[in-house]
């Protein structure tokens, strides 16, 4: 097996392990969201996350499950809604970032298998960014709990993404503009708005950076000039 094939199996195995944890957490919370709509969304997202774990599991081939470590925030069931949004939300953003790299692969079978997953992941991102917007401006203790949990969640997510750097470089899909062969593969994560960045609300490319840093170091805040909506995008440390 080539290094590239091994790297793909490794990344897929990590994604599968993380997605399985996400599915379990969503399932646990699907009957106790703060609104009926939120609970319904979690129930649907739980099914999708379980499906994502299966898809990634198939791509993982025979990759041994040893040393698979999902983001720390996914190892326990969050005990409150703000913690759920903060920890699983940041983990999902990180998983989505990785998935975007894989979907940009020039390998048609990989793209085909991950296409549906990528579309569903965009809706998960929309769900969490919508809740981020609610909680980061919440002056109540729930808002403070969210802010604290989000900082921890982002540190966990960045540590997890750090472990993906080597296999992604082997795949020619570097996450980081500073990675050694960043020019050899797909687009590196650089500026917060790249050629393929579209509005999460209306898919427009007419975007403007409101703030290089969003509610945290991990994200930038972006405004869509077409629909006027705001959203955040995961950035990487070496972006400008």
């Amino acid at each position: 097996m080539t290094d590239q094939a091994q790297a793909l199996e490794r990344v897929a195995a990590e994604l599968a392990a993380a997605k399985e944890r996400v599915a379990r957490i969503f399932t646990d919370w699907s009957i106790r969201g703060p609104t009926l709509e939120a609970s319904t969304a979690l129930a649907a997202m739980a099914q999708e996350a379980a499906g994502h774990a299966r898809v990634c599991g198939r791509l993982a081939g025979h990759c041994p499950p040893d040393n698979l470590r999902p983001p720390q925030g996914l190892t326990t069931i969050p005990s409150s809604w703000p913690e759920l949004i903060a920890t699983v939300g940041t983990a999902e953003l990180a998983l989505g970032l990785l998935l975007d790299r894989l979907v940009a692969s020039e390998d048609p079978p990989i793209r085909r298998q991950l296409a549906k997953m990528a579309v569903e992941e965009r809706y998960h991102r929309r769900f969490f960014l919508g809740w981020f917007a609610e909680l980061e401006n919440d002056p109540s203790p729930a808002g403070a709990l969210f802010t604290s949990a989000r900082a921890t969640g982002e540190a966990d997510a960045l540590a997890w993404l750090d472990r993906m750097r080597v296999p992604l470089v082997q795949l020619g899909m570097p996450l980081n503009a500073g990675d050694p062969d960043a020019t050899a593969g797909g687009p590196a994560v650089g500026p917060s708005i790249t050629e393929d960045t579209t509005c999460v609300h209306c898919d427009s490319r007419e975007l403007a950076i409101v703030s290089e840093f969003g509610g945290s170091l991990m994200t930038s805040q972006i405004r869509c000039r077409s629909c006027g909506g705001y959203f955040e995008r995961v950035r990487w440390r070496d972006s400008r």
Binding site: P34, E37, T40, M45, Y123, E134, D138, A142, H201
Partner: protein, 73 residues
Amino acid sequence: MSGDIVESPSSVYVVFARLHPTDPLAELGTLRASNDGLACAYARTTYDEDHWCEMAVVPRAALIPVIETRTRP
């Protein structure tokens, strides 16, 4: 509990969808959400009963009344 969510003032959104590109955009129902992003996320999961080719949400407050609601005499 410190993590309790006080639901923020939410708006009613009307959900529209069509099955085929040539179908009229039909009203599916409503939902409550506190911002547009959440309304989109909720619409997809709440009204997931078919393979819609298009779906949209509109804040009910954005509808401009032409004939006001009235009861029959």
